[in-house]
């Protein structure tokens, strides 16, 4: 599968990663690479993470050395469920229309 065929919205990928539990930046990067096959750059990852934090969808936990773990907030979990539901509907419709 090429990069253009991967889900590449960094914010969505980070929320999916954090849905499994709190993680710091490097753990998120490895997790996203594992489940989505997408290698996020550090700048892209922190750009998305900062916007998610500003939007109240993730929140920081106390530092672990230089690393700071983040977790999904309740509103972040709801937003993720809604987005995944929308995606699922789109995917189901697409599959039905192509007759797969």
């Amino acid at each position: 599968m090429t990069d253009s065929q991967q889900p590449t919205d960094p914010a969505l990928l980070l929320m999916i990663s954090l849905a499994a539990g709190p993680k710091h930046g490097h753990a998120m990067l490895l997790d996203v690479e594992r489940f989505a096959g997408v290698r996020l750059g550090p700048g892209t990852l922190y750009g998305a993470l900062s916007r998610l934090e500003q939007g109240g969808q993730v929140e920081p936990l106390p530092n672990e050395g230089r690393r700071r773990p983040y977790r999904l907030t309740e509103s972040g979990r709801l937003a993720l469920e809604q987005r995944l539901g929308n995606l699922q509907r789109a995917v189901s419709t697409g599959i039905a229309r192509v007759g797969a």
């Binding site: 710091h24 930046g25 490097h26 990067l29 750059g41 550090p42 700048g43 892209t44 990852l45 922190y46 750009g47 993470l49 900062s50 230089r66 690393r67 700071r68």
Partner: protein, 193 residues
């Protein structure tokens, strides 16, 4: 202490963003390794953050100061001087050797001229360095302050004159003019031939 490449990259971000996420991002870059791809990704993300901050400032959400070179004017002037130095030395030696009759310098200039003729792009670098030096020397003299209050937006340009930067900038202009004049003087007879 010399700043690391990671620290230099982090300086591309707005100060407030850097203070909040800078240590964490630096740690992540240390973990992944600073490859050209990572450097490009971080620089692009920093540009996005700058753009977001500017949009926020203009939308009334705060203020933004654009003056990346404002805090270290001497370092920028010295960097400009270092870039200008080879061209400055070439121009001075050429004038002494060929215009002012210091014939003792001609044997020194001949291998330099031969090298310039043999190496591709060397002459372009020689001509491009004074304008680049001028930009570097002048950058710390300007700061743009964007604000938006409840009723009006403002953009204030802060211009200051610093002796070292102005001196290096003027030197770059003079070297550039002399060099261009020399090139034109050399090319006109060839066109007429």
């Amino acid at each position: 202490m010399t700043p690391s490449p990671t620290m230099l990259l982090l300086r591309l971000y707005p100060r407030v963003w850097r203070e909040r996420y800078g240590d964490e991002l630096a740690d992540l870059i240390d973990s992944t390794g600073l490859t050209p791809r990572v450097a490009f990704d971080v620089a692009r993300a920093a540009a996005n953050e700058r753009a977001s901050t500017a949009r926020l400032a203009l939308a009334g959400g705060g203020a933004m100061v654009i003056g990346p070179a404002y805090r270290h004017p001497n370092a920028w002037a010295l960097a400009a001087l270092a870039i200008l130095a080879p061209t400055l030395a070439f121009v001075c030696l050429s004038i002494l050797a060929y215009q002012l009759g210091a014939t003792g310098l001609v044997p020194l200039m001949e291998p330099i001229n031969a090298w310039l003729n043999s190496v591709r792009f060397a002459d372009i670098v020689l001509v491009a360095s004074p304008p680049l030096a001028l930009l570097l020397a002048a950058a710390p003299l300007l700061k743009l302050d964007l604000r938006r209050g409840e009723r009006s937006a403002s953009a204030v340009i802060d211009l200051r004159l610093l002796a070292l930067n102005v001196l290096v900038g003027l030197l770059a202009i003079v070297v550039s003019v002399v060099l261009v004049g020399h090139i034109l003087a050399e090319s006109v007879p060839q066109v007429g031939r």
